[in-house]
Symmetry: C2
Subunit: 331 residues, 2 copies
Amino acid sequence: MRFELTILGSGSALPTSNRNTTAQVLNVLERFFLIDCGEGTQHQLRKFKLSFNHIHHILISHLHGDHFFGLFGLISTMSLVGRDKPLNIYGPPELEHLLWTVLKPQFEKTPFPINFHPLHAETTGTIYEDKVVKITSFPLKHSVPVWGFLFEEKERLRKINSDKISEYNISIPEINEIKAGGSIVRENQIVSNKELTFDPLPPRSYAFMTDTLLSRRYMELVKNTDLIYHEATFLKEDLALARKTLHTTAQQAGIFAHEAQIKHLLIGHFSTRYKSDALFEEECRKEFQYATAAQDGDKIIWPDNKRTTFLIIRGEETFELAINNEIAESR
Amino acid sequence: MRFELTILGSGSALPTSNRNTTAQVLNVLERFFLIDCGEGTQHQLRKFKLSFNHIHHILISHLHGDHFFGLFGLISTMSLVGRDKPLNIYGPPELEHLLWTVLKPQFEKTPFPINFHPLHAETTGTIYEDKVVKITSFPLKHSVPVWGFLFEEKERLRKINSDKISEYNISIPEINEIKAGGSIVRENQIVSNKELTFDPLPPRSYAFMTDTLLSRRYMELVKNTDLIYHEATFLKEDLALARKTLHTTAQQAGIFAHEAQIKHLLIGHFSTRYKSDALFEEECRKEFQYATAAQDGDKIIWPDNKRTTFLIIRGEETFELAINNEIAESR
C-alpha cells in the first residue's frame, strides 16, 4: 500500500547539472501520477528507474516551459515503445492545441488515446477520483494561470481484530461487512463493530504548490496535509524580486507550512542565483523546522503502518525525516 | 582558425543514458552552428562545456521530435540569461508557427530578435554565407521534409613567404595585395605572386545527413567532402525495416562514403534495438574503413596546419582518426 513521492526535478527555470526543471511522480497504491514535466523528464524517469509505462495520468500546473517542455518527448517515447493504453493529461486548456501543434508533423493521428482534462481558472475541483485516491486542483497566483494539486488517500476500511474471527466464527461475507463498518448478530445480541475492529490508520495526503506568490487563499484546503512541496525560488533578501516575479521566498514557505500545520515541508524550485542550496533550508527552518530542501532523485516514503514518520531515500542513504509530531499525534 | 565538430547527441528517437537525441555544434573559425536540437540539448551543451551565448545560428533538419524538441527550452534559457543578440533559425517553414505557439504563454513578446529562415523542399541552396564559410542545404528523403547541410570553408588567402618580405622590402599594403593573389613590381620587373607565396591549405568541409533513406541524388554535392555525419539507424539485417521507415543501414552509409570519396565518415542515430553499438562501426567499415561510430561528447578537430589527419577527443583521450589518404593527398 505504497504512498511515495519521487522528485525528478527540483530546480527552477534553468536546469543545472544536479537540478533539473520541475517534475515529480507520486505513487498512490500503484497509481503513478506525473506532476509537471520539464524538459528532460523522460531522461530523469530512466535515471531514477521509474517506468513510464506505469504513468497513466500527467498533471501540468502551468504553461511555463520548465513545467511542461518534456511532455512532447515523453509522449513521443511512449508511442515509440508501443504504448496503447490511454493517457490522461490535466492542464490548462491551451495545452491541448499546443501539444498537437508540436506533435502533428510526427504523428498523422494520435499514437495512443490521449484524454485531455482542461483545468479551469479560479475554481477548485476534483479532477480525479477512484476508490483509493482523490485529486483536487486549486488555483495559485502567478503570471499565468497555475494550479496546485492536493492528493488525498481515501479512508481505509476498518481493520478486523483477528482474534474475534475465531471467537465469533465470522464468515467471509461478514468480514467484508465488518470492514466496511457493519456489526454482526450472535445469540440475538448485536456485537458492535467497535468490538470487532481497530481504527484504520488515517489516510495520507500530499499537496504540490508551484509556481506561486505566497497566498493564504488556499490555506484552508491544504491545512493538516501530511506533506507539501512548495516552491521557494528566492531567499528573503530578494523578497521584492519574489513579489515582482510572483514567486515565494524560503522564509514565506516556512511561514505557510507553520500556519497550515502540516507534518513536513519540502521546498524546491530554487533560483540558481545563490551560492548554496543549503541557504534555502536554513532560512525556511527558522519558521518551520520540519522542512527539507528537495534534491533530484529524492524518494519520500509514507510508511504504510505508522503515521509518525516519513522516510527519505537520498542516493545510497535512507533516513527518517523529522516531522511535526503535534500534528502527527492529533490525527 | 578552428574547424571543430562536437557531438551532443548521437542516438535516434529514444534517448538512453549514454546517447541523447540528435544535436551537434560545428565551430567554423569561432562561428558556432547548432545542428538539430533534440530534447536535452541545453543540458548537453552545459555538460560538454559549450556556451550557448556563442550560438547565433541553429539549423533544424526536420520536424521529428528527436531533432527539435530541445529548441523550446534552449530559447527560454537563452532569454533567462539575458540574451539580446539575434538568433537565426533555419528550418522547415512550419517551425516558426509551432515555436511561437509553444513559447507564447511564456513570452508576451519575442525575448530577443529571432530571424527565421524557412528552408524550401526540393531545392538546394545557400542558406548562409560570410567571408569564411558557406552553408548549403539540400533535401534528403524521409517521411517528412528533411534537409542535409554542407559546410564549406572558403578559400584562404595565399600565405606569404616571409623571406621575400625583406628580400623585396615589401610594404604592408603590398602584403595584403599579394595575399589576395597580386604581384609586385621591382626595378621595372614583375615579381610573380607564385614566387612570393605558398599555396594556402585547401578549405575544410563537413556535411550532416540525417534522417534519410540512402540516396545517390545528393552524391555529387557532397563528393570529396572531408567529413560526413550520416545516419545509420539500422544494421543490414534490418534493411527492409530501414527502407520501410526511410532510414539507412550502417552498410549503406559505408557504401555511400566510399562512392563519395570522402576522407572520413561518422555514423550515428543508432536504433536502441541492437545489443552493441560496435556492430554499426564493424558493418560500416567493411564498405569504408575510415568510419567511426559517433559517441556523445566526441569532438572532432580538423587541424589548421595539415589536411592529412583528423583528431578526435573522446573522454580523456585524444587520438588520430584513420583517413582516406588517397583523397587527402589529391586535394
